[in-house]
């Protein structure tokens, strides 16, 4: 029982991170039809900002919010420089643009920083474990679950209660008519990127809190997983992204915990196999969003 609860903690922590990343992808996709593979680069960038703020002598509790703000700004800047010129182009054009951005930034990290992992110094509290009578769970994992919940609730409130949030939901359904409401297209799109940057940065901080290092490729795998999660949940659906993210985390952790030793090397294949099975039954994902991208 203790082992099961421990693994459930791990599953929710990983699932929460996937969910944050998946929503970040979904927010941009639902409005622009762009699958942004440079999302992972934003994660990596967050890691390096944490390294540099630590080198500058700033404590983690200040470095983390600084990283989040800078990465939000970078995401908005990325849209201005890289994605605005191809706005309205085909999905494939935008996808390739995002690959190009990802590769360029990755190379920049390798050239100007290092190809080797850099240590991110973490406060001691993050590396301690709490004994909750019968099972132990890392403080970093508890914080990760709490932060993910807080961010998701805040995002939900933003989308429901603010005019800009309503505009984001409206733009995901009908971009032209959103403009007819007098809402600036650029403002909605910049907000989408700011939100995706925020989510990537928060996810990255949580991810690093469990690994304490960053390398140029760090964001690649988690964002690939997040992409799988959005597909699983229903591409373009924000609720679907959360559901898909948590589900993927749960599947991965439980498989790793309960597969017999001989089958462990196939954990990745089995979890992807489960995803494929779900998609065969429900090609539109668990929460089927509309099929067409808006613009």
């Amino acid at each position: 029982m203790g082992y099961f609860l421990e693994q459930t903690g791990n599953a929710l922590s990983l699932g929460g991170i996937y969910a944050l990343l998946a929503i970040g992808l979904a927010v941009v996709y639902s409005i622009l039809g762009l699958i942004n593979f440079a999302h992972g680069t934003l994660m990596t960038l967050t890691g390096y900002i944490l390294v540099f703020t630590a080198m500058a002598g700033l404590p983690f509790a200040i470095g983390a919010p600084v990283a989040v703000i800078l990465v939000m700004a970078s995401a908005v800047l990325l849209e201005r420089i890289a994605f605005r010129p191809v706005r309205g182009a085909s999905g494939a054009t935008m996808l390739l643009t995002s690959f190009a951005v990802a590769v360029l930034l990755q190379l920049a990290f390798q050239l100007f920083i290092s190809t080797r992992p850099q240590i991110v110094p973490l406060p001691a509290v993050l590396t301690t474990t709490l004994d909750l009578g019968g099972f132990a769970i890392g403080v970093n994992r508890i914080i990760s679950v709490i932060v993910a919940i807080v961010v998701l609730v805040a995002l939900n409130q933003f989308l429901k209660r603010t005019i800009l949030g309503l505009a984001m939901r409206a733009a995901a359904e009908d971009f032209d008519v959103t403009r007819l409401m007098g809402i600036r297209a650029n403002r909605v799109i910049a907000t989408a990127f700011a939100i995706s940057g925020l989510l990537a940065a928060v996810a990255s901080v949580l991810w690093i809190a469990q690994r304490s290092s960053v390398d140029p490729m760090m964001g690649l795998i988690p964002v690939l997983k997040a992409f799988i999660a959005t597909t699983l949940g229903g591409l373009g659906s924000l609720q679907g992204a959360v559901l898909g993210g948590i589900l993927l985390g749960v599947i991965e952790i439980y498989l790793a915990a309960y597969l017999p030793d001989g089958a462990l090397p196939y954990q990745g294949a089995i979890s992807l196999g489960i995803v494929i099975l779900v998609l065969i039954v429900r090609p539109q994902g668990l929460i089927g969003a509309r099929k067409e991208a808006v613009k």
């Binding site: 005019i163 309503l166 505009a167 939901r169 409206a170 359904e173 009908d174 032209d176 008519v177 959103t178 403009r179 007819l180 409401m181 007098g182 809402i183 600036r184 297209a185």
Partner: protein, 248 residues
């Protein structure tokens, strides 16, 4: 007097297709002006160009005396002209209230916005009943009411209506046309695109008839109602099914 909307020699091209050819039309303050014609005549494109959703290839569009050709849709709406698009296009997963709230996105005064909202809910009682329901669950006629109410929330001086009767039951169409007359009585200027020419000419002051991207006839609604040419050439035929995917 300066017309509220004045379109001069408008051309609109979609790639190789020229949807609008040298269209000129005026709408004076307080008028209902109808634009009639078959599918693909260029009516919808003319409206879309007026609000900046498609770029004018050439020609000039003036709103209340100011040239707005090439302006962003957002700025045009801010100036007081908005469009209720064909097919209603309410935001289906947003509630009725949220749709109305977005209609007032250009306005800042929360008290004023709340007052407009109450006014809309009085004007359209069904929307008050359904305020917290997703707009996608409304019937076609209710969605049309919501689309008009949403547009009115921006306090336009000029309202462009694209095929408000499309796909609605005859009784509902009558209600919508009554509503348009009431809006006129409240001082709103209206440019109405319709395939149902008989109904449109009933409420309009003046009308333009378009075919193949051109204005082929214009005049007072009364004169057009009695014109044999109109009856035979453009209005006699049964309405075609709504196929306008590009809105041309």
């Amino acid at each position: 007097m300066t017309p509220m909307l004045s379109i001069a020699d408008l051309d609109v091209r979609y790639g190789a297709i020229q949807a609008v050819r040298g269209v000129s039309l005026d709408v004076a303050e307080g008028e209902i002006v109808a634009v009639l014609g078959a599918n693909g005549a260029g009516k919808t494109t003319t409206l879309k160009a007026a609000v900046g959703l498609v770029p004018a290839t050439s020609g000039e569009i003036r709103f209340a005396g100011t040239a707005i050709t090439g302006s962003d849709t957002e700025d045009i709406v801010m100036r007081g002209m908005t469009l209720v698009p064909e097919g209603r296009r309410v935001f289906p997963s947003l509630t009725v209230s949220e749709n109305l709230r977005l209609g007032a996105a250009t306005r800042r005064d929360a008290g004023e916005i709340a007052r407009s909202r109450d006014e809309m809910l009085t004007l359209f009682p069904i929307l008050a009943e359904r305020a917290n329901q997703a707009a996608g669950t409304l019937s076609g006629g209710q969605q049309q009411q919501l689309a008009i109410a949403r547009a009115l929330m921006s306090m336009p001086k000029l309202l462009l209506l694209d095929e408000p009767s499309l796909g609605l039951a005859p009784q509902v169409v009558d209600d919508i046309f009554d509503l348009i007359l009431r809006l006129k009585a409240r001082g709103l200027t209206i440019l109405l695109v319709e395939q149902d020419a008989v109904a449109a000419l009933d409420i309009a002051d003046r009308a333009y008839v378009m075919a193949n991207g051109r204005v082929v006839m214009s005049g007072s609604a009364a004169a057009l109602r009695t014109s044999d040419e109109i009856t035979h050439a453009y209005l006699g035929a049964a309405p075609e099914p709504p196929l306008e995917s590009t809105g041309a």
